[in-house]
C-alpha cells in the first residue's frame, strides 16, 4: 500500500462533505485566509504580534511607526483632559494618592482598616473553590439537559427551570439571599458557615447556570456522526459520552469557559456585601475610615493583575486552537 499519495493531508475529514473530487489540493476557501495572511511583521508594542485576531493587520515598519505615534497622541490627549479638568487635583488626591494607596495595600488594624493586599487572597480562594464546583455542577446540568431518556424528563424540566432562574436573577440578589437566608434558617451546619462559604455557594449557583449553557453548546457542536461511530462499535451511551463526545465538546468550549472565569474572578467582589473582608470590602472600609478612596484604585489594580493573565492565556488558547484546525486542512 502506498502511504504518500498526492494530496495527502489536504483531505479534511469534514463531516459528510460530499466527496467530490474538487477538494483535493486547494486549501478550502475560508473567511480566515485573507485576514490571517502570514508574514506581515506586527507592532510589538501590543504583545499580540502573530497571535489571535490581530490588533493591527498588515503594514510593516511604517504601520508600526504610525500606530505608535497614534497611540501616544491618544494617550497624551486623555491625560491632558484628565489634568485640565477643573476637579483634577481633587480626584488625584482622592483616588490616586500614593501614600494612601500604599497604606491601604498593607493595612493597619490599629487604625481600623484591613490590608487590601491580604484581602485579595480571599477573592482568589473563593474563585478557585467556586470554579471547581461550577465546572462539576454545570456539567451535570448540561448532561441532564442534553439527555433524551424518558425517565429523566422531570430532571430535564428541573434543570431548565434552574438555568432560567439563575440566569435571570442578578447575582447580587443571589448573594444576599444565600448569605442572609441560609443563616436565618438556623439549621445545624448549613447556617453556621463563614460569609465566604455562602459567597462561594451563591457564585456557584449563579455561574453554573451560565456555564451549563456553554457546555451544552459544546455538546451540540460535536457532530452526530461521532455519536453514531461510537455507538456502532458497541460502546454504551455513557462510554461514548466519556471517551468520544465530552473530550471533543470541552475542547470546543475552553475559550468561552475561560471567559466566564475571568468574569467570575471579579464577581467574587460581590461577596463583600455580606461583610466578608475581600479586596473590595477592605478598600471600602479604608475609604470610609480615612476618607480617601485610593484604596479602591488599589483593589482595581489587584483585580486587573488577576484577570489580565487569564485573558491573555485565553487568547493564546483560541489561537492555538485555530492553528490546530488549520493544520488539519492545510499542508
Amino acid at each position: 500500500m502506498n502511504e504518500n499519495e498526492p494530496g495527502d493531508s489536504s483531505l479534511a475529514p469534514s463531516h459528510g462533505s460530499a466527496g467530490l473530487p474538487f477538494h483535493s489540493s486547494d486549501r478550502p476557501p475560508g473567511p480566515l485566509t485573507g485576514a490571517m495572511s502570514p508574514g506581515a511583521p506586527m507592532a510589538g508594542s501590543f504583545g499580540t504580534a502573530g497571535r489571535g485576531p490581530r490588533l493591527l493587520s498588515g503594514g510593516g515598519r511604517r504601520a508600526t511607526a504610525i500606530s505608535t505615534v497614534s497611540t501616544l497622541v491618544v494617550l497624551a490627549a486623555l491625560v491632558a483632559i484628565f489634568l485640565a479638568a477643573p476637579g483634577s487635583s481633587q480626584v488625584r488626591h482622592t483616588f490616586f494618592d500614593p501614600h494612601d494607596m500604599w497604606q491601604s495595600f498593607i493595612g493597619d488594624p490599629q487604625k481600623g482598616y484591613y490590608s487590601v493586599g491580604e484581602a485579595i487572597w480571599l477573592n482568589i480562594r473563593m474563585f478557585l473553590a467556586a470554579e471547581v464546583l461550577i465546572l462539576l455542577l454545570a456539567l451535570l446540568i448540561a448532561l441532564i439537559r442534553q439527555s433524551t431518556s424518558a425517565v429523566l424528563f422531570p430532571l430535564r424540566v428541573l434543570a431548565m427551570i434552574y438555568v432560567d432562574f439563575f440566569r435571570g436573577v442578578p447575582l447580587l440578589l443571589v448573594v444576599y439571599a444565600i448569605g442572609f437566608g441560609l443563616p436565618a434558617l438556623r439549621l445545624s451546619f448549613v447556617s453556621y458557615q463563614s460569609y465566604a462559604v455562602y459567597g462561594v455557594i451563591a457564585l456557584t449557583l449563579s455561574y453554573s447556570a451560565y456555564v451549563s449553557e456553554v457546555y451544552r453548546a459544546g455538546l451540540s457542536s460535536v457532530h452526530q456522526s461521532q455519536v453514531a461511530a461510537a455507538r456502532s462499535l458497541g460502546l454504551t451511551q455513557a462510554t461514548a459520552l466519556r471517551y468520544v463526545i465530552l473530550p471533543q465538546a470541552i475542547r470546543n468550549v475552553v475559550p468561552p469557559l475561560l471567559n466566564d472565569f475571568i468574569s467570575l474572578q471579579k464577581d467574587t467582589a460581590l461577596v463583600g456585601v455580606l461583610g466578608a473582608i475581600e479586596a473590595n470590602q477592605a478598600a471600602q472600609i479604608y475609604g470610609s475610615t480615612v476618607f480617601n478612596y485610593s484604596s479602591l484604585t488599589v483593589a482595581a489594580i489587584l483585580f486587573l493583575i488577576l484577570t489580565i493573565p487569564l485573558a491573555r492565556f485565553t487568547d493564546r488558547l483560541i489561537d492555538l486552537d485555530r492553528r490546530r484546525r488549520l493544520a488539519g486542512t492545510v499542508t
Binding site: 500500500m1 502506498n2 502511504e3 499519495e5 498526492p6 494530496g7 495527502d8 493531508s9 483531505l11 479534511a12 475529514p13 469534514s14 463531516h15 459528510g16 462533505s17 460530499a18 466527496g19 473530487p21 483535493s24 456522526s225 461521532q226 453514531a228 461511530a229 461510537a230 455507538r231 456502532s232 462499535l233 458497541g234 460502546l235 454504551t236 462510554t239 471517551y243 468520544v244 473530550p247 471533543q248 475542547r251 493544520a327 488539519g328 486542512t329
Partner: protein, 258 residues
C-alpha cells in the same frame, strides 16, 4: 470465493431482513424490504442516492429503529424489544462514508477504544491486536498519528481496521469510497477485497459498479426503499430484467462509471 460461500452448509443466513418498513416523518425510506445475506457472502446494494441503501445498513446496525418487520442476525431476532443493542453491535461492524474517526485520538487509540471499553480487553492485548491489524493494512507507521494528518484513503482504512478490531461476524460498508478522491479509491477497495478473500460476510452499499461486479456474489438494485431486482452481478449488469434497473444502469454507463 463466492461459489465456496454458497456451497458450504450453513445453519441460516448471517443477515435476514424481513418486510422492514422505515419512515423519517412523512418520508417512507424503506418499504417492506426483504433481503438475506449468507455467511461468507458479499452482497452489494446499488441504487441512486436516497434509494434507502444507507438507511438499510443503519437499521441492521440498530442505529435506526425500524417501524415494521424483523431483522435477524445470525438467526437471532435483533429488532424486537429488550434487545441489547450494544451487544448486537459488537458483532456487526459498520464503516461510514465520512470515516467518522475520533479526531482527538491517535490512530492506535481509535482502534483500541472499543475492544478495551466494550469487550474489556486489557490494554496490552488490545494494542497488540490493533498493531497487527494496522500493519496488515499498511498502516503500521501511522499508529501514533492523529486522523487529521492522514489522507482520506488512510482514514478510511483506519475506520475499517477500527471496525475489524471488534472481530465482527458481519461488516456493513456504507459507500466507503464515495468521499475519497479518485486516486485514493483503489487502496480502500483492495482492503475490502482482502476481507472478502478472507471469508468476511459483507453487505456493501456502493456506487462503484466495477467493484460490485468484481466482488459481489449478488447485487441488489434498490429504488424508493424497495429491492427492485437482485441477481449475480454477471446477470444484473448485462441483462437486467426490470426497466427501472435498466434505466439506472444506463445512467451509470452514460456517466462513464461502468
Amino acid at each position: 470465493m463466492t461459489a465456496a460461500g454458497l456451497s458450504a452448509p450453513r445453519p441460516g443466513p448471517a443477515i435476514a431482513v424481513e418486510d422492514v418498513d422505515k419512515s423519517f416523518g412523512p418520508n417512507q425510506v424503506l418499504s417492506s424490504i426483504s433481503l438475506s445475506v449468507a455467511t461468507h457472502e458479499v452482497v452489494c446494494l446499488i441504487g441512486a442516492s436516497g434509494s434507502g441503501k444507507s438507511t438499510l445498513l443503519r437499521c441492521i446496525n440498530l442505529l435506526e429503529p425500524i417501524d415494521a418487520g424483523r431483522i435477524l442476525l445470525l438467526g437471532e431476532d435483533v429488532s424486537g424489544p429488550g434487545v441489547d443493542a450494544n451487544a448486537v453491535r459488537r458483532h456487526v461492524g459498520i464503516v461510514f462514508q465520512s470515516y467518522n474517526l475520533f479526531p482527538h485520538m491517535t490512530v492506535l487509540r481509535n482502534v483500541t477504544l472499543a475492544p478495551m471499553k466494550a469487550l474489556r480487553m486489557p490494554r496490552p492485548q488490545a494494542e497488540e491486536a490493533a498493531a497487527d491489524l494496522l500493519s496488515r493494512f499498511g498502516l503500521a507507521d501511522k499508529r501514533s498519528e492523529y486522523p487529521d494528518r492522514l489522507s482520506g484513503g488512510q482514514q478510511q482504512r483506519v475506520a475499517i481496521v477500527r471496525a475489524l478490531a471488534m472481530q465482527p461476524q458481519v461488516m456493513l460498508l456504507d459507500e466507503v469510497t464515495s468521499a475519497l478522491d479518485p486516486e485514493l479509491v483503489a487502496e480502500v477497495l483492495d482492503v475490502i477485497r482482502e476481507l472478502a478473500g478472507g471469508g468476511m460476510t459483507m453487505l456493501i452499499a456502493t456506487h462503484e459498479m466495477g467493484f460490485a461486479k468484481d466482488i459481489a456474489s449478488r447485487v441488489c438494485f434498490l429504488e424508493e426503499g424497495r429491492i427492485i431486482e437482485q441477481a449475480p452481478p454477471a446477470e444484473l449488469f448485462t441483462e437486467p430484467r426490470d426497466d427501472r434497473t435498466r434505466r439506472f444502469l444506463r445512467r451509470i454507463v452514460d456517466a462513464g462509471r461502468l
